[in-house]
Subunit: 225 residues, 4 copies
DNA sequence: TATGAATGAGGTTTCATTCAT
DNA sequence: AATGAATGAAACCTCATTCAT
């Protein structure tokens, strides 16, 4: 059994090395421009070996993206593993996602590239469901936390936690997309500090979901106050 | 003189035909998968002629996308060319964008493909600035309308209209992206009707931007009411 | 008839303008890299008009080359239109060819590009014979001058003037070809000054063709003296 | 170890096969007209494989040309590997070059195509230096042989061997170029047998480089005697 | 398991030339 | 005579993937 296990471990290790190589190449060149040759060279492996571990370039791309999901997942786990009250934890999640955007920009970009429905057709179903699983794990954290806020009487019980999560995500994600490509335009031409906007709009959205008692506990943060 | 003009018109007409062909191919296959051969066949022109009118496949892609922008722009113009009060017009814009998402899904998808920074490098600067111009024209409509709302005393004067526009856009766009690929998942697994969510969150965001007097005029629409 | 003539003149003038444009483009880019588009732009004419005056790009190329031949021809005419003795004139021709190489390098290069037999197939017969005619006119000057030297008793009567011309041409041309691309290599690595070599070998060849009486008249120029 | 070597050999063999195919196509069509498709078909390989072994069509062309250089080099080696006196060997070289011109005309033509400076820009530096190396090896044989003649007292010590080589080469090469394209013209119109001319002029040039003692040893060969 | 040579379809783009106006 | 839009063949080259070893 030891031999079996060691082989297993080695194989997993090799998969990781390939992902390392793919990651650096994809980050630099993007899916379209990156070539399997480059990845093979970066991995110090033959191209054939790559295909032993991943069915296609797209799968490899998703493999890297899943890493990005895991990073975000771990950051979310950490952000919610504190002794703080639930509402603070929810706020933490928002801050964490923004920190992810700043510190893992390349992964963030992969995410919205992944949105492209055209892309999906070229991917193996297994990888695809891995992705969806990772995605769901992340949503789950957010949704359950909001549910907890409801249970604890801080968030209005008439709110669907999934709805709430979507709204918060849509808001911050949408603003971050603009930040990614047009921050300067908004700053200089329109005089808008997008980071500020994200902060304020997030707070505002959250506020509107609180119960009256929760509102009383925390100082009301009105938009642009 | 007439001759010059007619040639001009014919040339413009040919450009339109090429765009028609490109549009149908890009809609079906996406940028990466589509080939200039297919587009040439669809346009019933030689491939060489395509390159007479557009410098590259990417430029052609942008040409189509600009059409999508113009459609949205026209819809926005129309939505705001009514006798309604400003607040209604703002609401109209939101509805219009959603209608655009429903009726021109392929264009909508082009927009977020365009976000990919990798893409930008392969495009001629002229086409690029055409795009940015089109983009700005659309934002301008929204921002100026919000400004008008402020001037008329319905929207809080402490709000930056561009900020406001970004927030509204981020919210609706983010939710529509989810709708595009995961509507069923949200409906069936999480029990969330994304269309409903978009409606409500938009209304809520708008509410929070109203002056007290405006709030009094319109019945308060509370979230999840 | 005046009208006829003016048209004729204008046509010729247009041909010249086209050649001017072609010349500048071919000089800069070479036959292969130059495009008819570039030439048309340089000529401020449409591409179609080019074909009205020249059957093909290759013909146009030859048209330019013929100009180069005419220049050389004129220089040869001038070099032999002096009062000097025949032997001096022959020497003048050699010097003139070298001056041509220096002052009209681009034409010189065209000449040996033209040598390529592959090239000939793509050229109209009319242009081809124009070229050969130009070529012959130049050879004629040299050959007749040598013949005159024979007649005057300076060059050995057992020499075929055409042979003599070929030898002199082959020598100088061969060295100039090396000068064109490898002058520095010969100078620095092999310590050979090609200009010097050409001068000396030419003189030497000439010497060996003189009659004894002619040798007595001119100081013997031995190789490397 | 054997495996490594066999692979190496096979790879070299494949390179040779590709060169064989390229050679036959280039000989027939010339660089410009030949296509990689034709070469691939001739090699019974895919086009992609061609590019695996040679970076570009131009490189492949040079690869063939280097073969031609090697052939000439070997012929020169052979021509100088006899027991004859040095002067005879020098004469052998001239005869050998002429034989090369006759028997390997296509390679000879490649050489002067290579002169085209336009050509050089499209070639990989590695191939370029291979070419120059081959070129130098050939010059080296000639130059060293002349040096030997000097050392042995047969060739005048005031002569630079490289100069001497250039002159001999320029003479024969220049005449051969004329032979290649205009032999009939010279024969029929001008009554000149270029082969004869080359023979005689070569001998004459050689003569003028001999020391007096060497001249005495060999019967004087005067031009056109 | 790992290799890497071979594939070959397909990509975009170019450009000499034609021809209707 | 002049135009210039249209052609379309062909060019070079790339690269994800396969497969014999």
């Amino acid at each position: 059994m030891g031999i079996q296990e060691r082989k297993e471990r080695e194989k997993e290790h090799r998969r990781e090395e390939i992902l390392n190589a793919a990651q650096s190449v994809f980050f630099e060149k993007g899916l379209q421009t990156a070539t399997m040759d480059e990845i093979a060279v970066a991995a110090e492996l033959s191209k054939g070996t790559l295909y032993l571990y991943y069915k296609s370039k797209e799968d490899l791309y998703l493999g890297v993206m899943i890493r990005g999901m895991e990073i975000l997942h771990n950051m979310f786990i950490e952000a919610t593993s504190t002794d703080e009250p639930t509402l603070s934890k929810i706020k933490n999640l928002g801050d964490t996602y923004y920190r992810y955007f700043q510190e893992h920009r390349n992964f963030f970009r992969m995410f919205y590239f992944f949105q492209n429905p055209q892309f999906h057709t070229q991917v193996s179903p297994e990888m695809m469901s891995s992705c969806q699983l990772g995605n769901q794990k992340i949503w789950k954290i957010v949704i359950e936390l909001i549910q907890q806020g409801i249970n604890e009487g801080d968030i209005r019980p008439d709110i669907n936690p999934a709805e709430c999560a979507v709204i918060l995500w849509a808001n911050s994600n949408g603003i971050m997309i603009r930040m990614d490509t047009q921050q300067d335009y908004f700053k200089n031409i329109l005089g808008v500090d997008l980071e500020d906007v994200m902060q304020k709009s997030g707070t505002m959205l959250l506020q509107s979901m609180l119960t009256d008692s929760a509102k009383r506990k925390t100082p009301t943060i009105s938009y642009a106050s």
